[in-house]
Symmetry: C2
Subunit: 381 residues, 2 copies
């Protein structure tokens, strides 16, 4: 099968990831639960992973790297942990439901004020809107680093200029960029970076987390055992313990750590270049096909995603044909991005999302182009 | 090394667990994210795991099995999702901080009334207290199935008689019993059973969940993408989607599923019998050693835990000697069980917890007994 659904989860992982998980399962105890060798090994392995993540995203402190089970948990922890009832927050039409639903909930239940920077018909933002929307009580901007539907990246430099100037927290959803694009928290002025482990970072499912800037305060969403300060009624206040109640996914984190090694050894540039090359090849191969509509603006910076429709064929039907007749896995439908589909005018039809990874081959891309051509031709008849 | 810290996490897993994770990593896409083969395979694998868990705990509906990253998350989701500001809840001194801290927080922040059934000096409860504590606004009893410190089990039949009679929800923390003791939700009248995957169930870290009785309402703690009902502002209301925002740990769940197969093939009785045998052997070997104090009441039903102290030696020091001189891993300190340590009078000294698994051997137990004897003897000099 040709797997072109890497924006959902990367299927092909570096070989070292699986072996790291197996080794961890044979050698790691519970992190921070005891002082014997297995437990210390587990704590060291997790701390090493924190350090790698911190270096990778240029987060100043390794102890400000918090592990979660996925980016959704990280975003919920961040959004609920930062915003209070009197606050105003600015977000965008590009967001995934992992950002939208926590924000809607705060709107409905805590009276938090939320404004969304609208996306135009190409799925692009007017960055001046961020500035226009700022109020005296604006606490944070919550923004994706790239749309999971069109692949278009947001201009984080521009957004962070605005957030810095106005002393507003910048919270970034890096679900689609971590591991594929360079993210330097200091350079981009990011206060909280939320990431997932199982997409571009090529780690196992069940991993993700957040990198927290110095001095940023977050109330915990989940509290419980930490192995330290047992007699305190409340969760210990130091990071990462404050936000890591319960047993960590030590096995998964060991896998993520090995994935980071692979990325560092291969070179992020090299990964990005290959993904860009594959994406461009696909885009150039399909953009002039009759009746193919591509969404987003691929002339701007983007990730390894191309979303399209063929005529007025339902996107789910196209995905089914791709899977059944061409053995190609893509993702159709709404992609948990309701506001952007509305902006693109694709609420009814959905879109067919092709998403590529470092491990895809040119041959696979060409087969996918061929398939789109054939489907579009048969559709015209 | 002799690993006797299985109440923290079981170190030795059935071989099939690791291979199931590896296979999952090579074949599973994102569950519920698309309709291609890899994604459908992932959804099927997760659903199969739900069915196994449902059968294992006699939860009536497989779709009422919700996966979380650990039992702490399951308990937080349950406690915050069930209790509202006008409610009263009864819990016990035996609880772990994963129950206590969410309850304290609700007390402090939402004004939920909380009463704790006290433990006596042996760490036992007077079950009449549950009945005595019931008020008109009592919404739930939250109780552990077994203390993670002494290993003593609670009499869930008795507690459920009380909860049923008074129409109160029974929420059970099965962190220490799932996979080691038979748990029949219907027979025990449990409304929400919270479990972890990496202890008795012998699955990987990063797994756990809750089994929810029919008609029990829980508000979600974490909301976000679900792959369905993208255009709904709120999290979809159907279980398990309501409580499973974001990408599941499909790889870990595949491992947990293999672990359940192992337990079913081996027989839960067989596992329980071996664990009981090892625990009794250890207990009988150390109970009459001079200056050894054992906590809890091992004449009652208990799990594979023996907690002790040697004279007035600090528990951490004993654990260090065990590790450094005997290569034995145990857990000292407070075990995230502050109320029970206070009840036992061990707040200062802590306790040395030995906990056994199906994979421990008689030889390991005998070496541990020998070590306790030697330490206690050298301490007397």
């Amino acid at each position: 099968m040709i797997y072109l659904d890497n924006a959902s989860t990367t299927l092909i992982k570096p070989e070292a990831v699986g072996s790291a998980i197996l080794t961890a399962m044979q050698t790691l105890g519970n992190t921070a639960r005891g002082a014997h060798g297995y437990s210390i090994d587990a704590a060291s392995a997790v701390y090493e992973a924190r350090e790698k993540i911190a270096r990778f995203f240029n987060c100043k402190r390794a102890d400000h790297v918090v592990f979660t089970s996925n980016v959704t948990q990280a975003l919920n922890m961040t959004i609920y942990g930062v915003l209070s009832s009197s606050d105003h927050v600015i977000s965008t039409d590009l967001e995934h439901n992992s950002v939208l639903r926590p924000l809607y909930r705060l709107q409905d239940e805590r009276g938090v004020e939320v404004d969304f920077v609208p996306a135009d018909k190409k799925g692009c933002l007017d960055y001046r809107d961020f500035e226009r929307m700022i109020k005296p009580n604006t606490k944070a901007i919550v923004c994706t680093h790239a749309s999971n539907l069109t692949g278009n990246m947001t201009d984080m430099r521009r957004i962070s200029e605005i957030s810095r100037k106005n002393n507003i927290l910048l919270i970034v959803d890096a679900a689609q960029t971590a591991g594929s694009k360079k993210i330097d928290m200091q350079e981009l002025g990011i206060d909280i970076l939320c990431f997932t482990g199982h997409k571009g970072l090529m780690g196992p499912q069940g991993t993700g987390g957040m990198c927290i800037g110095e001095g940023v305060k977050i109330r915990p969403l989940i509290v419980g055992g930490t192995g330290v300060q047992t007699y305190s009624r409340a969760q210990p206040e130091r990071l990462p313990t404050l936000l890591e109640a319960g047993t960590l996914n030590g096995h998964g984190i060991a896998g993520l750590s090995a994935a980071l090694d692979f990325i560092n050894e291969t070179g992020l540039d090299c990964i990005e270049n290959k993904e860009t090359f594959l994406t461009e090849r696909f885009y150039n191969g399909i953009k002039n096909i009759d009746r193919v509509t591509v969404y987003g603006d691929l002339s701007r910076e983007h990730t390894a995603i191309v979303a399209l429709n063929i005529g007025d064929l339902d996107s789910g039907e196209v995905a089914d044909i791709l899977f059944e007749q061409y053995d190609i896995a893509v993702r159709a439908g709404a992609h948990c991005a309701p506001r952007l589909h509305r902006a693109l005018g694709t609420k009814e039809q959905g879109a067919v999302r092709f998403s590529f990874s470092y491990f895809n081959s040119i041959e696979e891309i060409d087969k996918a182009i061929f398939a789109v051509k054939e489907i579009s031709r048969s559709e015209m008849k």
